[in-house]
């Protein structure tokens, strides 16, 4: 019996994947666990492996095209096997879906194992036009005007159950929360075409950045605190460190900033926390996300337990993670689950900026460049290296004074780097 190949979940936030390359073509022999395709997820390019041995009979999603989680992207089976029935089934399921008013994204699948068990749920629901649905689910659907044909059942034999309707309603609710006026504001005048343009398909990463950041500016009440930090001693401190190190080992100012932030976070737990409706989660360690620019966007590899690591170790890790990020080789656990983030645009000559919080973190630090400027000191004008940092704070957990005290500690550490050793 031929079986379907589903788009697997290859990153924790992935909702769809783009086939960047098929490693097998139709008719090729495939071994269990052998890579069959490369998939661009929202974060990285991942290899997708076969869940059984056989022959790749059909490719349903071509290179460059995207498929939602759990969507059928190919068929695997015995050489010469008749797959017309499976194809017909897929077609009928697709046409049923097209009548939907609100397309329910395929259920997020946690592991490759569950993916292989999934076929019945996605298709039998509409077999023979008969829908299997529990009485309470049918009643809830009727009350909310949901067309059951658009719902995929997760119960046995594809039965639509209460949970499926609840999940659907939660999604609809969520969509309502994002104001629908934005597209209208930016809608171009229909009358005259102003300029020629070209369009490119958005990448999964770009879409993820868009949804995550929109989520952030919406429900998170953010405020910003800026402080000037005199960096002369930190710069001197860095030079002193670097005289003891080889060329490859040399640490950057940013490595010292990460260390200072991690130390300061330990003294200000509210900044190293996460707001979760009925509770606030405080983290024991400072897992610091460091934003790294890459060709197609940005990614924030995480320095785990930065509070317990030395500057040299932090520096080594950042270098290594940033290199792998540019090669798109990061594993999901290497770029998710930070407790605090730092974005540094100093190397681009940016004096000061604000960054957007990456939920569920409570804050992000935007670091500008350290510039030599004249400063008035005791009636004299002196030249000092001044760096501006701006922290975006989630006001649900951080109040103005809380954030200010954190920045005070952070500033003291950089202005007197020896204090980091205390």
């Amino acid at each position: 019996m031929a079986s379907k190949i589903f788009m697997p979940k290859l990153s924790p936030t992935m909702e769809e994947g783009q086939i960047s390359r098929w490693l097998k073509k139709e008719g090729d022999e495939v071994q269990l666990n052998e890579p069959i395709a490369e998939v661009d997820t929202d974060k990285a390019t991942m290899e997708m492996t076969a869940l059984e041995s056989g022959v790749l009979l059909k490719i349903l999603v071509p290179e460059g095209a995207s498929a939602k989680l759990g969507q059928i992207i190919g068929i695997i089976g015995k050489k010469g096997e008749d797959i017309s029935q499976i194809l017909a089934e897929i077609n009928s399921a697709e046409s049923a879906e097209k009548t939907s008013f609100e397309k329910e994204p395929a259920q997020p699948l946690e592991t490759a194992e569950t993916v292989s068990e999934q076929p019945s749920t996605s298709t039998t629901t509409v077999e023979d036009g008969r829908i299997f649905v529990s009485p309470i689910a049918a009643r809830m659907a009727a009350e909310h005007g949901i067309d059951l044909k658009t719902v995929k059942g997760s119960g046995p034999g594809g039965r639509i159950i209460k949970r499926d309707i609840e999940q659907l309603l939660a999604k609809v609710e969520h969509k309502k929360e994002i104001p629908a006026v934005l597209p209208q504001v930016f809608k171009p005048a229909e009358a005259t075409s102003v300029s020629a343009y070209r369009e490119e398909a958005t990448t999964p990463m770009r879409r993820t950045i868009a949804t995550r950041l929109a989520q952030s500016i919406g429900p998170i009440p953010t405020f910003y605190l800026t402080v000037e930090i005199e960096m002369d001693r930190a710069i001197e401190f860095r030079q002193q460190i670097n005289t003891r190190l080889t060329e490859e080992e040399k640490v950057s100012l940013n490595d010292i900033i990460v260390k200072a932030a991690a130390m300061a976070l330990m003294k200000h737990p509210f900044v190293n926390s996460s707001y979760r409706d009925d509770k606030i989660r405080f983290y024991e360690d400072a897992d610091i996300g460091v934003a790294v620019a890459i060709d197609e966007g940005l990614i924030t590899p995480v320095i785990r337990k930065a509070n317990r690591k030395g500057i040299l170790e932090i520096s080594r890790e950042i270098k290594q993670l940033a290199t792998r990020a540019r090669e798109k080789k990061l594993q999901p656990e290497e770029y998710t689950g930070a407790t605090f983030s730092i974005s540094n645009l100093g190397m681009f000559g940016i004096k000061q900026f604000t960054a957007i919080i990456n939920p569920p973190e409570a804050a992000i630090l935007a670091v500008g460049s350290a510039m030599q400027i004249p400063v008035a000191r005791n009636g004299n004008v002196e030249i000092h290296s001044i760096m501006h940092v701006t922290m975006s704070c989630d006001h649900r957990v951080i109040d103005g004074a809380t954030g200010a005290r954190f920045l005070q500690t952070f500033k003291q550490m950089l202005e007197d780097p020896i204090s980091m050793l205390l």
Partner: protein, 327 residues
């Protein structure tokens, strides 16, 4: 309030009712001089004497018939069966006479009688001594059927049964006789027949259990809550007939899922009846087919391992709840 075993709670109920109403008397095998096969009637013969606590020959049909006659003559007999398995010998008196007398006499003779004793499985007493007979008796109009699961319920329900003007089948459980619980000592404490009790509040799945299966269901509910985060509501109907279906239906309307646990056989059983009534009254609220856990469809085996396998247990309840919750 005092902490009593179910055995002593039943004894207290009998004693209080013997004191309260001189028409009440107890009759059965070994109930007097031997204090009862399970010591439920301990001390009562010494306190109340030969007229109120009467030992009988081994003749279930005979003493059940004497009980029915005494009730017709205005007394309020409490007939003990050493186990309900032996009541089958007296089924003609219970079903053909006690249950039908009020109707067939055109309302002239009501039968205020209680038949009581242990029902269901015990400790390796094999096929003929392990039967749970509630479904059989509940099938006949004219009989009330009561099944307590705690000492307090046992006392309150037995007192109500003795005060009731109609025949009551009072089904105890040998394995529960030693269980302890707080029991009110107020002689006017009664629990009305036909009122269910929610033994544990929950929101995700309703478990209906009775008699011996109540403590098992409560254990299962704790385990499920801990391991799967699923909160189960445990409803104990306490009286099988009349059945408090409203409490069950209200619970199902809240949880959308129902598992029924019983010690009797499944076919034509009490769980089947509850399933049918919930379908009639709460069909639109169900999210999964109702699941029943009953004894195996076989005579009770003697071997300890097979006996355990034939009966409901925590693991079977956990599996059923997971199934109806689609876990």
């Amino acid at each position: 309030m005092a902490e009593l075993t179910m055995r002593d709670a039943l004894n207290q109920a009998l004693r209080e009712e013997l004191l309260r109403d001189e028409r009440v008397f107890i009759m059965g095998e070994e109930v007097a001089q031997y204090d009862g096969a399970y010591k439920v009637t301990r001390g009562l013969w010494r306190e109340f004497g030969d007229k109120r606590v009467i030992d009988t020959p081994i003749s279930e049909l005979g003493f059940a018939a004497i009980g029915v006659g005494a009730a017709m003559a205005g007394l309020r007999p409490v007939i003990e069966f050493m186990t309900w398995n032996f009541s089958i010998l007296a089924a003609d008196q219970i079903i053909n006479h006690a249950a039908k007398m009020l109707y067939m006499s055109g309302g002239q003779f009501n039968i205020p009688i209680v038949f009581r004793g242990p029902n269901g499985s015990a400790y390796q007493v094999s096929s003929q001594h392990s039967q749970a007979l509630e479904a059989m008796y509940a099938n006949f109009p004219g009989l009330k059927v009561v099944m307590p699961s705690t000492p307090a319920d046992a006392k309150g329900l037995l007192k109500s049964a003795i005060r009731d003007d109609n025949p009551v089948i009072f089904l105890e459980q040998e394995k529960l006789y030693g269980t302890k619980g707080e029991v009110p000592d107020d002689p006017d404490f009664t629990i009305p027949l036909g009122v269910a009790d929610v033994k544990r509040q929950g929101k995700d799945c309703t478990i209906v259990a009775r008699s011996l299966t109540v403590p098992i269901a409560l254990q299962a509910a704790e385990k499920i809550e801990k391991e799967y985060g699923v909160s189960c509501e445990v409803v104990d109907p306490r009286t099988i007939k009349p059945l408090d279906i409203d409490t069950i239906v209200n619970s199902v309307k809240k949880t959308n899922r129902l598992v029924i646990v019983e010690e009797s056989h499944q076919f034509c059983g009490v769980a089947a009846e509850i399933t049918a009534q919930v379908n009639e009254k709460a069909f639109d609220y169900l999210d999964a087919p109702i699941k029943r856990i009953s004894s195996a469809e076989a005579p009770m085996p003697y071997a300890r391992n097979l006996e355990a396998a034939a009966l409901p247990d925590v693991a079977k309840i956990v599996a059923a709840v997971k199934e109806v919750c689609y876990l």
